[in-house]
Symmetry: D2
Subunit: 342 residues, 4 copies
């Protein structure tokens, strides 16, 4: 923390701020400048909220310096974390040089639907299957998902095609079920700061895919992951899915620069969801190429064999044959970066 | 829903879109223009996701027309809802001409702290007391609240001073306890789209104060309230607490225009939280005056008798004597609007 | 500027950064912490762009500390600036305790229109009249203003009713004309960082009203004013007119907290434009009350005697009789703050 | 335009709105729904501001339907525009399958600097050189550019290395000079809605590169280009350079989805500036790959041979050898899309 004093702050005011800092068990480092004095603070372990010093007389501003995350940081672990997702057809690696593709419908609607999409996806070579059994919907009158019945359908898809299964949990009850039935537990954007759910996920035995909240800063995103690691679960992958801005031509603004920014600060893998990130079917392919080109460790893509009849998000779902084409192109882009897909 | 066709869309494309609409059991109304044709759709009860028509050939865009909320809407109930919050010293009214002030510390820290603030607040005439027993904190290493012990302290404050108690629930477990101990259940900004929690609050026997999410649109805010009403709990008040924007001089950007916007569309009361809305102690008083001037039905203000020692949010907490001054000024502003405070 | 080093930065890296700083003629102040070292820099007069140090090895981040504005700052002048706008009926004061109301149509359309609105506004007691002769419009096919002919009409309105005239200049050519015909030169939001125009306004003999850009931070806003003062024109008033955010129910998000924020940092007066700030006629009155309640030094309101026939911005213009009501209410709110309207 | 009526709007109110529409010379198309009536409007040539109908009694909302741009639209010209930039070493093509790379320092500082960078860039094969002689800087105390002297240096760089020259104009005076000395006239983000400058650029004889404003919607961006085309200059290329959001880890948020969005609506080429788009040197390479992967028609990259001594934007400038590496990688990515670089 750095305290910036007013240009006309008195010696006494500066001394008072230093005394307060020392009284908190910290060390004050005054830095007299030509215009004003600043005071550096060291010794804070992160538990003290020093912003309050801003209200002392003579103080202009308190500027936080140290980042609050620890376990997710490259300070804690320098090399990339590579997750192993166990599937009936062997482990899928995510992180470092390994790019994972995840595909499937937005919502699990019927066994038929999932089996049909599953069969078509199997042919594309994809090894991780996604589909929502618990759907957080803006309206209470929209389809809310099949619940445990949906999880059972997903388990059948795994048995039939050898996929690893990724599906979302929305509260502690559903998380316990998802932990039983699925291979990766997804925490959605709307729950990125549902700290009760994050702690529960931190005690789960399965890897977690954590989506960035719609207006989460990078620090908040990493701190949300820190909640999971701090409870003992180190198998976390992050996912950018677009943030909310004034820009109105797409559902969200996909913030691809977050990928190298995460990779600079953290050892955790980061995927990109171009389906929610754009909300438009015709932007999924170009943004998928871009996500791999920027260095993402994977893609999460909504695929439906009949998008116009989808119970949710049909507008952003692509067809299995479009996903096959996408797979070919992102592999070519991955080659440029010497990365391995799946 | 309105479908806008390309200027060079063919007759056949237009017919195909109309046929698809009719096949869904809806009615299509083509409107031929000089440049292009648009197609109005009627008959949708809100359950069909028509955005998918955007991918049909010849279509430029799908524009939603009807709003999806029902029970919260003035279409459902024209007159203002006035909530009655029962307190040991009689009901407090919120809504219509009645403005409610709510004050107290960000977090319940100790019985001493709450009793001290409570005594000082009692003297200002305020009748609703707030304080967090469950604290959603960005960092897992920050103070997370006292939990049920905190709720017991709040109950003692009520007994001692006759306040009604407002406190936050963060998951289904804490909601059950809050329902027992408190008078109003608060759902925080980070949980505005925690639909599992909203449904549970909709089955609670106590009124609910629902805060706007950091990047929630007006429609999403009203739809979150709709979740609560749709489960049977009609005692809901909303609360604007600032949204996230590029603007970096305050913690959030307080969006006061949302107050008349909500009041135009919905019968529910809407309060303003100038403490979180600005994150700066010196802005709480001016923004409190502004909130009442714009027509808010109440204020939620963080007050601490020793903000520099507060375990959270000390930076935005004001002193009890500052709150007393605030009370005087907002009452004068309320007079201009012929509103009654508390 | 503060340089934050990596936790595992070597002594050598720290020495290299300090050496670079000293080689630039500045002073380096290393602050060793428990986790990492930070390095304070003093002696920079604002001309060196130190962000580049961020690319030195071992550096995490460069954090700017000193604010770059000088003449607009309270460091340069502690007491409030009170502007005097000369009008045929005597000076109008703006700033400090003095609140100025400015009203008139968005665009000067015809002499008739301006005279009609002018007569009706005269009756409300307002003393400053606004109206655009040069209109920056999103579309090249929209009405672009009457140009010099419009300025002549405004001069007639001044002669007829004794108003001071405020009107916008959009380039160096129009600024020279506005300087001749009007009493206050307005620089619009879209030109807030048209530095060529700001410099020209800095050499003008008339006061300047500078509107905040749609996505301008507070620092950028104050720096834009600094451009005008740095050329010698100290008669500047600022104006908040809403910023662009994700929030979609109003045209812009009126950021009222900027008023106390400006007043803390700068001695210049700041007004609020609730018409552009909301873009909706029914929000002008409540937001006008709120603006005065938050402490604004004035209001800029669009008034048209026949808004539905207005050539621009009819949607946000109120009627003269509505403005009369607004005047009454804001005077009552101003009383609460012991401020004087006009 | 579509007018949405309240659910309890009376027949009379609906008739009044229709009558008003017809009185404006337009055609009203009432669409009775189960909940409410909507009214479509046809016949508007874009000059009437119909938003004002929103204030008629019984009206909920006015929803614009037709897009206001014409000449830039694919409705006006279906095939991609391919610009030819004449250079001493032959035309450079931009648009369609042709990707153009533009590189050079942020600011022209000295002849030596430009010649040194120029020589190193020549070796990478790049054919378009950028450098600012007029610099729009946030602070009046920062380096403002060399003006005409800078343009003369750029002309020497062209003569020495055969580059085409792109440089920014900031007002009508500088535009006349840039038109004389350079090959492409750049309009910067801060001037995207400087309509006076856009009109002047529309009368220029040279191609124009128009950057997206920091908070410009897609429609505003295309309308700004429409200003240039409407004055007769059809040689316009667009450039995404990042928008302003809450996201604080990079200077701006690069909105890559705008590339396919522009290409769907307009025939004009669109480039990407990853230097301003991220503001960080280490993000330029990954975002350059991503920009080409998403389908951009070119890149604008800041390159400086000694970034730590750059007079502006050193923080986001890369070295010539880094640019050489970038060139290799983006060519590989371009191959995936069957595009030709330069």
């Amino acid at each position: 923390m750095l305290i910036v004093m007013q240009s006309h702050a008195t010696e006494e005011q500066i001394r008072a701020v230093c005394a307060r800092i020392e009284s908190l068990g910290l060390k004050a480092h005054p830095i007299p400048g030509s215009l004003r004095t600043a005071i550096g603070i060291t010794g804070n372990q992160g538990s003290l909220d020093l912003g309050v010093l801003e209200s002392m007389s003579g103080v202009v501003e308190c500027i936080p310096v140290s980042k609050p995350y620890k376990l997710v940081s490259r300070d804690a672990k320098e090399e990339d974390t590579v997750l192993r997702i166990p599937t009936p057809s062997g482990d899928v690696l995510v992180g470092g040089k390994h790019i994972a593709l995840v595909a499937g419908p937005c919502a699990v609607e019927t066994e038929d639907q999932c089996m049909t999409v599953g069969a078509q996806l199997k042919a594309t070579g994809v090894r991780l299957f996604r589909g929502g059994a618990y759907k957080p919907r803006t309206s209470p009158y929209s389809f809310q998902g099949l619940g445990e019945e949906g999880l059972k359908i997903l388990a059948k898809v795994r048995d039939a095609y050898g996929f690893g299964i990724i599906t979302e949990a929305i509260d502690n009850e559903s998380l316990a079920l998802v932990e039983d039935y699925a291979d990766v537990i997804q925490i959605g954007a709307r729950n990125m700061q549902n700290f009760s759910l994050l702690k529960r996920a931190g005690r789960a035995k399965k890897p977690v895919l954590l989506k960035r909240g719609m207006s989460a800063t990078l620090d908040e995103f990493l701190m949300a992951a820190e909640y999971i690691l701090s409870e003992g679960n180190y198998n976390v992958m992050l996912c950018e899915r677009g943030v909310r801005t004034f820009s109105d031509f797409s559902r969200n603004t996909l913030d691809l620069a977050v990928v190298p920014a995460v990779q600079k600060r953290s050892h955790l893998p980061i995927l990109v969801d171009p389906s929610h990130g754009t909300g438009k079917r015709n932007k999924v392919l170009p943004l998928s190429r871009a996500a791999v080109a920027v260095g993402a460790n994977g893609l999460l893509v909504e695929v439906h064999h009949d998008p116009e009849k989808a119970l949710s998000d049909g507008m952003q779902s692509i067809l299995p044959e479009e996903f096959a084409e996408l797979t070919v192109e992102v592999k070519q882009v991955a080659n440029v970066l010497h990365r391995i897909v799946n």
